[in-house]
Subunit: 221 residues, 2 copies
Amino acid sequence: MREAYHVELGQLAEELANMCSMSATAMELATRALLDTDLGLAEQVIGDDAKIDDARSSCEEHAYALLALQAPVATDLRTVLAAIHAAESLERMGDLALHVAKAARRRHPNPVLPEQIRPYFSEMGRVAVELARDAEQVILNKDIDQARSLEEADDEMDDLHRQLFSVIMEKDWSHGVAAAVDVTLLGRFYERYADHAVSVAKRVVFVVTGRMPGYAEDEDV
Amino acid sequence: MREAYHVELGQLAEELANMCSMSATAMELATRALLDTDLGLAEQVIGDDAKIDDARSSCEEHAYALLALQAPVATDLRTVLAAIHAAESLERMGDLALHVAKAARRRHPNPVLPEQIRPYFSEMGRVAVELARDAEQVILNKDIDQARSLEEADDEMDDLHRQLFSVIMEKDWSHGVAAAVDVTLLGRFYERYADHAVSVAKRVVFVVTGRMPGYAEDEDV
């Protein structure tokens, strides 16, 4: 049983890593759609979201099968449950990329972002994609040090998010209320995406170290 | 084993129902803190959030113990996993109430909401608390019809959320960008809270009917 368990757990890890890659691509394309006012890319992200949802269902079904057939206990049990939680976070990251793509589509052919704000989203997009790609590596390599580096990238995201808010709140904001509302929600989507990526990495750290991650709330704006 | 399993599952359901009650109270008090600019109530919600986090940990530990000791399969297994997911959603509802309370504290002694906007939040608060209380009843009574009525209340929340956005986006919005940003985020907190309450109810429907709920994305604003 132990051997079968480890083979199946390895497959589950590969499925999760693949979900990281899919959510990273979704956020990469959604950010380009946002920055370049590219309707085709936005549509692609919107169309592809169902694939991430399917990958999560498949991951969850495999985890269920593993629980039912192998009845793991102790750390093995927690490992499979961590995988179920990670799949949920990754599906949510896909949804957040989808929201970005829908914002780009909703305002098309107009850009969503005022010119002044574009650099923040260019950076937030870069950090978000980096986080998802790092989480993929953490899953594949079970590299705890890399998991810790995700927290640094998440701090970078939080900094960008705070800077973004101070720009919106400045007295000389000249882009109107509608743009401020769009930028507020988009900023939150990127920040939540980063939180979920960190949560995925923490679950993997737990799988490797056996230490249960805390339930940190997301950062307040 | 079957008898022990059902006793433990009953205890797990009671813990989840108790978490519903705690998140309902948190949102009720947070909404009053927001509407009445009441710092004491805001502090109470902020201080009590750790209890909801603890309740989730406890719920999860009991579910893990149930899995490890009883090794349930088929529907029994899915039931326990549904409980783990429901506990996660309920903890998140507590976090969202916490965000509302923190917004009230951040702007104190000033009100967060322009007078014109207060009725929307009064209604959104009422619907949010109703949803959490209904989810509690669904868990305790396994009443599928009541679970479906949650979807109607969620539609009501989505309508309120849409109306709120049209008010913010109107040309005669006179409360400035900072208030628009606060209202945008607060509106999203209530809408997400409602989505999570519906998700809890759907999990319970699944436990009763054996039909797997879909993974609906949250509504776009």
